[in-house]
Amino acid sequence: FWDLALREHAAVNQKGIYDEALSSFFRNVDTRVVGDGGSISKGKICTLKARAVLIDMEEGVVNEILQGPLRDVFDSKQLITDISGSGNNWAVGHKVFGNLYQEQILEKLRKSAEHCDCLQCFFIIHSMGGGTGSGLGTFLLKMLKDEFPEVYRFVTSVYPSGEDDVITSPYNSILAMKELNEHADCVLPIDNQSLFDIISKIDLMVNSGKLGTTIKPKSLVTSSAGAVKKRHQKPFDAMNNIVANLLLNLTSSARFEGSLNMDLNEISMNLVPFPQLHYLVSSLTPLYTLADVNIPTRRLDQMFSDAFSKDHQLIRADPKHSLYLACALMVRGNVQVSDLRRNIERLKPSLQFVSWNQEGWKTSLCSVPPVGHSHSLLALANNTCVKPTFMELRERFMRLYKKKAHLHHYLQIEGMEESCFMEALSSLSGLIEEYNQLDATKSMPVEDFPRLSVAM
């Protein structure tokens, strides 16, 4: 993400001045100054430091980042690591490491917050199936809610795919979901299988050769290595870039100018009708914007159509055949309001919206396109199509739980009891039931509630 963010700002910011847009994600620091006094708020860019805290209970990944090309972007004081890892155990992450590192995490967060003129939102990026991301991550979520109640909490959660190699991932995921239900403002679920499918599609487009495509030298599909990507080399890099693009596009309208801006607080305001129903399915189109490949621009309208197809969602879901509670279209680049309106009119008849929000669209237009492309679209849908994912998760949980398989690893952690599992399960079931009730209204005729009418 930070790699792409830097590239994006570099493309827009010609003069090297530290501006409002940059300050959303980065601090400007004079590294020669020792201690905290080094922050510079205006003027030329000195050294950019990411407004981020990196947490992992084992050192491998963080060390790799610190030795990589982006090592200067991260402040060494903003890291929290341990040695042994959480063992894919939510309880270890949440209860053991949560307690152990609570103070430290809080202190680092407070420091980061102090460096901000106006803190609007936290982005939490983690996986649901593991131990640290899932356990410690959700512990952190609650802490953020208590400590910074007015700041929005956006969570990007990677859900376990069908073929997941972590056996305890259903336990971890469901224990984490309870926390997400209660403490997150907005969750963007992702799953690896969908990301992989998208990468494969891009590969196909690139290697089919029919359209005379070429890969640009600094391909954004892979990491900053710069070489032409070999197929299936380090697929996670390419998949992660998709999520990075998601976050960039989500915040583009808040960072850059446009004729219809959309801030992050507007996402929550418009797309979350009831506090519990805050799971948003996302899709990014056109696909080639995720790969920096040189494909001749297709028709603009195709971009809009694709955003609603099940093949473009970042999680296994089919929004077109489920019920929409709300939908947001965030457009970047050379697209005007008439294009937006035309496509909304065109696509609306094929989509089902809930009765009390028949025309529930939130739109935004940002003038700055993604690097190297003319336009792109991010669609966020609050749609009942997330229900199957949750139901499947519950299914897998039950298969393990019925046999009490692997349960003792959790129960031996202080503070964990079987009731934790029951509560988490009932929280998820409650959520699924909400979606069920909404789905039941799908085919019902839309009736107006009685009211005083305007005299005509």
Partner: protein, 317 residues
């Protein structure tokens, strides 16, 4: 007689820029299809109404720019300054770091009281620059958070503080098929508050303006800038002075007759009284002939009913 404009939110500020630009361009049209004397009187009058003078001759718009996030206001300020023809006052801008999040309640109950003093002070300063204040022109949208909520709050304050001045609110009616999901809530909250504190609500519907761009002007890719320019044209031709040199404030009545259809008029007014014509020789923006119609009619009842219906359905669910 001067008018102080208050531009609120992204919509208000983007429109405000186009309006001032249209007014400036029009008043500086070298040929007005009228006598030189009349052209000069027209220019002077327009300038007095909407701009104040600066030392180096660049007119400054009599306007306050208000927004809860900085991007749009800084863009508007720089666009005006770059044009070299007119600009906004250096200190006429009020903005914060974090937007209102499309939340009317945030604009009205949080941002309003919190920034009341700063905003009213800015307005006061602008008012003091006027020799005689004719009234306020408040540009705002109904669908967003700042324009709608803060706009309602500011209008109320203006009612309290400047009860003798005219307050005209220019409100933008959002697209029917959603720009903002909670636009219906924001709209009815705004309208219900403005009823009590505003003297006149001048309405422009995004749908109508869009249609004009598409059907009448044949613009293929319509941008908000196009829409705002159409709007500014309409407003400009309504705002520009209609004096003739013979006597200011002298308007000629009705040589065109009125609309023939009796059903267009209310029962308590005779057609001859219901329909007023202001005619001026001086052309607007080089159009040989142009006319603008401002009407107080029932044309917004249906859209209003639709909005209330949708808001109610959302609320009652």
């Amino acid at each position: 007689m001067s008018v102080v404009t208050v531009q609120l939110g992204q919509c208000g500020n983007q429109i405000g820029f186009e309006v001032f630009d249209a007014l400036y361009t029009d008043s500086h049209c070298p040929q007005g299809l009228c006598s030189k004397r009349e052209n000069e009187a027209y220019q002077a009058s327009c300038k007095e109404r909407f701009f104040s003078e600066e030392e180096n001759g660049v007119p400054i718009a009599r306007a306050i720019l208000v927004d809860m996030e900085p991007k749009v206001t800084s863009q508007t300020l720089s666009k005006a300054a770059q044009s070299g023809r007119w600009k906004y006052g250096q200190h006429s801008c009020f903005c914060q770091k974090q937007g209102s999040g499309n939340n009317w309640a945030y604009g009205y109950s949080v941002d309003g009281p919190r920034h009341e003093e700063s905003i009213m002070n800015l307005i006061q300063k602008e008012v003091e620059k006027c020799d005689s204040l004719s009234g306020f022109f408040i540009i705002m949208s109904m669908a967003g958070g700042t324009g709608s909520g803060l706009g309602a709050f500011v209008t109320q304050n203006l009612q309290d503080q400047y009860s003798n001045s005219l307050k005209m609110n220019h409100i933008i009616w959002p697209y029917r098929t959603g720009e903002v999901i909670v636009q219906n809530y924001n709209s009815i909250l705004t309208l219900s508050h403005l009823y009590r504190s505003s003297d006149a609500l001048l309405v422009h519907e995004n749908d109508a303006l869009h249609k004009i761009c598409a059907k009448l002007m044949n613009i293929k890719q319509i941008s908000f800038s196009d829409i705002n320019q159409v709007l500014a044209h309409q407003l400009g031709s309504v705002f520009q002075p209609t004096y003739s040199v013979e006597g200011s404030c002298h308007y000629r009545r009705n040589p065109l007759g009125g609309f023939k259809d009796q059903a267009l008029y209310t029962s308590w007014l005779k057609p001859i009284n219901a329909f007023n014509v202001w005619k001026t020789q001086r052309a607007f923006r080089k159009y040989e002939k142009s006319a603008a119609l401002v009407s107080n009619s029932q044309f917004l009842l249906k859209p209003l009913d639709t909005i209330v219906g949708k808001a109610w359905n959302m609320f009652a669910s």
